[in-house]
């Protein structure tokens, strides 16, 4: 009897070991991030949930699909803001509500079918007028209505219900797919016209693209690209320094990319949204005091990476006003303004709540502590409430939670579309989805700007930003944020403000 229990359990242990050893092979070896000198290895913070082309305005999807797998009719040059030809070679505005696009000849889809005006019209309709809930529909087109009609193989006519001066810009977000694409449900692996096609997507592990030999444009340097994803920034940085990856994005300075790190200005701007409907924030002097009390230079040198700025859109976006400077740090002026308001009976002893969001940018909580310190020195009462994304979203979007008292919301805005129309209405309009306060005068300026085109449009939006800054002071804009990526010695790549949303593999060149 001695040892019989052990001898009985021995086969269990043995068979467990065999099972593990056998099954071990199925995970091992299934992750080919390697791929030789001709393949580019990219590590992302998260796996794209889908590669559905009409969800390309989602960062995780767009940075893989846009301009790599699928292409649009037009494309915006992120540094200059100019709109360049892509699958359309030129476009003209025939009347206030009608446009004609001339399409590129000799373009084929990855499945071999030719790119025609019919495919373009189909793609536009699929993205904007179907039941599949495209992200691009809500983000870029909101409630605008239009019809796309193929005139002949290389001519597309689009008519809009209302005048839409930036229609060609909006179309830079519609990725073109062949008419064989399912119009009624989302696709996981799209067919496009881009320089790369999907080779193998092993969900949860990697996504591999390979060069499309029939591409109409210039052949990219790398024959293939493998994407993997790691949530931890320090691991992403370590993968580049350890020669496991060539490109790592979404890094923070403390992730340790060392001299492999490349800094670039993004189009993200951090700001605090003041709830100007509640005392004491309903008094413009208090809102000005908040602006004077924030040490923006201190924030960007000691807390997060960026450049102080005075407006929500970065350079290169239509409507950016070069005249607007960041508010100066002037604690004395802030104190005076608060004292003045108090003397007039404003309830400056009401506690303001900073609604912060964990991880919105590196050291998000520390940044709010710096702000809190400045406001307290100015004579205000402030507490901080740090929330996770979903709880925070309840404060960001209408309808706002009731009974919260006066709040300052920690927020960040990135205008990736390149026109202030995608910023102004929703953030500063009286009825904007993310707006807690607006004025009739500002609404009028925004509406006028939205209908203008060309140089007038630039001026009209710039005026609206100036009016917001001088007369409304609804928020405290802090900084234009800096992004960080890491590159291996193998790759030459110059990131631009759109890099976070759009990483063009064709722009990545071999260093040798």
């Amino acid at each position: 009897m001695t040892g019989s229990g052990l001898s009985r359990s021995r086969p269990i242990v043995a068979s467990l070991a065999v099972l593990l050893a056998a099954s071990g092979c199925s995970v091992a070896g299934a992750d080919p991030i390697g791929g030789g000198p001709d393949a580019l290895r990219v590590v992302l913070p998260e796996e794209p949930p889908t590669l559905e082309p009409c969800d390309a305005s989602l960062t995780a999807t767009g940075r893989v699909t846009r301009a790599n797998i699928t292409e649009a009719l037009t494309e915006r040059e992120p540094s200059t803001g100019r709109l360049e030809p892509a699958l359309a070679t030129k476009w003209t505005r025939d009347s206030a509500t009608s446009w004609t696009f001339t399409l590129r000849r000799g373009v084929t889809f990855h499945d071999g079918s030719p790119f025609t005006a019919a495919a373009a019209a189909f793609s536009v309709k699929r993205a904007t007028d179907s039941g599949i809930d495209c992200n691009v529909d809500g983000y870029i087109f909101a409630d605008s209505e239009f019809t796309a009609t193929p005139v002949d193989d290389t001519t597309l006519r689009i008519t809009t219900a209302k005048p839409d001066p930036i229609l060609p810009l909006r179309l830079s977000f519609v990725e073109i797919v062949p008419t064989s694409t399912d119009p009624d449900s989302r696709v996981r692996e799209p067919v496009g016209t881009g320089p790369y096609r999907i080779d193998d997507w092993n969900q949860g592990r990697y996504l591999r693209l390979k060069r499309f030999p029939g591409y109409w444009g210039q052949t990219p340097d790398f024959a293939a690209a493998t994407y993997v994803w790691r949530a931890e920034g320090s691991v992403r940085a370590a993968m580049v320094t350890n020669n496991e990856a060539d490109v790592a994005i979404g890094l923070a300075p403390e992730d340790g990319a060392g001299d492999r790190a490349v800094e670039f200005t993004t189009n993200e701007v951090s700001y605090l949204r003041m709830d100007a409907t509640k005392p004491p924030l309903d008094d413009i002097r208090i809102r000005q005091a908040v602006n004077y009390a924030i040490d923006r230079e201190g924030l960007v040198t000691a807390v997060f990476a960026g450049r102080p700025t005075g407006q929500l859109v970065a350079k290169g976006v239509t409507g950016h006003n070069p005249r607007l400077r960041p508010w100066p740090y002037d604690p004395d002026r802030a104190r005076e303004l608060v004292a003045e308001a108090r003397a007039d009976g404003v309830r400056t002893d009401t506690t303001l709540t900073i609604i912060g969001r964990n991880g919105i940018y590196p050291k998000a909580a520390e940044a709010m502590e710096v702000v809190q310190d400045g406001l307290i020195k100015a004579g205000l009462k402030v507490r901080i409430k740090m929330l996770d994304v979903n709880a925070w979203l309840e404060y960001l979007l209408r309808p706002f939670p009731a009974d919260t008292g006066p709040t300052l919301l920690q927020a960040q805005h990135g205008n990736q579309a390149g026109d202030a129309a995608f910023t102004m209405g929703q953030i500063y309009g009286s009825e904007g989805a993310q707006s807690s306060y607006g004025t009739d005068a500002l609404d009028t300026l925004i509406e006028r700007a939205e209908l203008a085109s060309g140089g007038k449009r630039q001026q009209a939006f710039a005026d609206a930003f100036a009016h917001q800054n001088d007369k409304v002071v609804r928020d405290a804009v802090m900084a234009n944020m800096t992004g960080l990526l890491a590159l291996s010695p193998k790759v030459r790549y110059e990131p631009d403000p759109a890099t976070n949303d759009e990483m063009r593999l064709a722009d990545m060149r071999r260093a040798d």
């Binding site: 052990l6 889908t50 979903n390």
Partner: protein, 308 residues
């Protein structure tokens, strides 16, 4: 034995239902997924449409009823994030975690038996003191810290191992080592304690007096009696590995159930979260039953009680 099995299976049903219920309602308390899935500028109509299409506009109770009915037909719903069946995502992720946990427990148990027995064999020796110190340290360091330090030391500084991923045997080392440390530390202490009292028990003296060899005394006689408490603790530790897996899989990009759970919580992907939790709960119940069965194999008293 069958009675024991049947009784444990039946008594698992209620806790399982509680888990399903809890996850269902707690997940829905965390916020409206429309905020995450629709653009910030989405109109109220788009939000209403989204809720209707995903069945999120019904009262919670009827949503839960629908869900139970679905599950009864083995339909676990569709992922909001990827629009694929939730069951598919979960079944794809589960083996990766199972392998990670399996290797970890195997190495932890084998290592702890050897080290713990050595320490108990010579109490207060240098071996014993080093083992006690290291194991209590190991039992108390956080997974997160070990994982990041492991990457920095062994991948970045020394370049011996890959930072992350699943390719090749070397990729297993850091995740397994990270997960291993705590169960190993705890088990060494348990084995040492149990072996200590077993080695001083009368039957060991009898065995020695009869002239049994020392390895046979330690691994044959004493270990068998020390195995029962160690097994119980090992079972609990294996259950606890699910927590560790969340951290370890997220850091190392391991495509397992822990990472899937964290992703689906962050993405409000209710169907996937529910399916992942349900499967994990089932696995834990199965594991507990296995532990009980092995207990019964090792200890005749358990068998007798079960037979009553």
């Amino acid at each position: 034995m069958l009675t024991l099995l049947r009784r444990r299976a039946v008594s698992s049903v209620v806790p399982l239902l509680v888990v399903v219920l809890g996850v269902f309602f707690l997940a829905r308390l965390t916020g409206d997924p429309a905020n995450l899935y629709l653009p910030l500028s989405a109109t109220p109509e788009m939000r209403a449409e989204f809720a209707a299409r995903n069945g999120l506009d019904d009262p919670l109770i009827s949503q839960f009823g629908d869900y139970l009915a679905q599950v009864a037909h083995l339909d676990f719903g569709e992922s909001l994030r990827t629009a694929q069946p939730a069951a598919e995502a979960v079944l794809r992720a589960f083996p990766a975690t199972l392998q990670l946990a399996g290797w970890t427990m195997l190495l932890a148990v084998v290592g702890a038996v050897v080290i713990g027995s050595l320490a108990a064999y010579r109490p207060n020796s240098a071996t014993d003191r080093i083992a006690s110190f290291l194991s209590s340290t190991a039992a108390s360091v956080p997974d997160f810290w070990i994982a990041i330090m492991g990457v920095l030391v062994f991948a970045v500084t020394l370049g011996w191992l890959p930072t992350s991923g699943t390719s090749g045997a070397a990729a297993w080392v850091l995740p397994v080592a990270t997960l291993l440390i705590r169960p190993f530390g705890v088990l060494v202490q348990v084995v040492r304690g149990a072996m200590g009292s077993a080695l001083s028990a009368p039957y060991v003296k009898v065995a020695r007096a009869k002239g049994a060899s020392e390895p046979r005394v330690v691994f044959g006689h004493a270990l068998r009696n020390a195995a029962a408490p160690a097994l119980t603790v090992a079972g609990d530790l294996a259950v606890g590995l699910v927590n560790g897996a969340v951290v370890v899989e997220t850091i190392f990009g391991w495509p397992g159930i822990g990472k899937l759970m964290i992703d689906s919580v962050l993405q409000r992907d209710f169907a996937v979260l529910q399916a992942a939790v349900l499967l994990t709960a089932l696995a834990i119940f199965a594991l507990n039953i296995l532990v009980d069965l092995s207990h019964a194999l090792l200890d005749p008293r358990v068998r007798q009680r079960a037979a009553v």
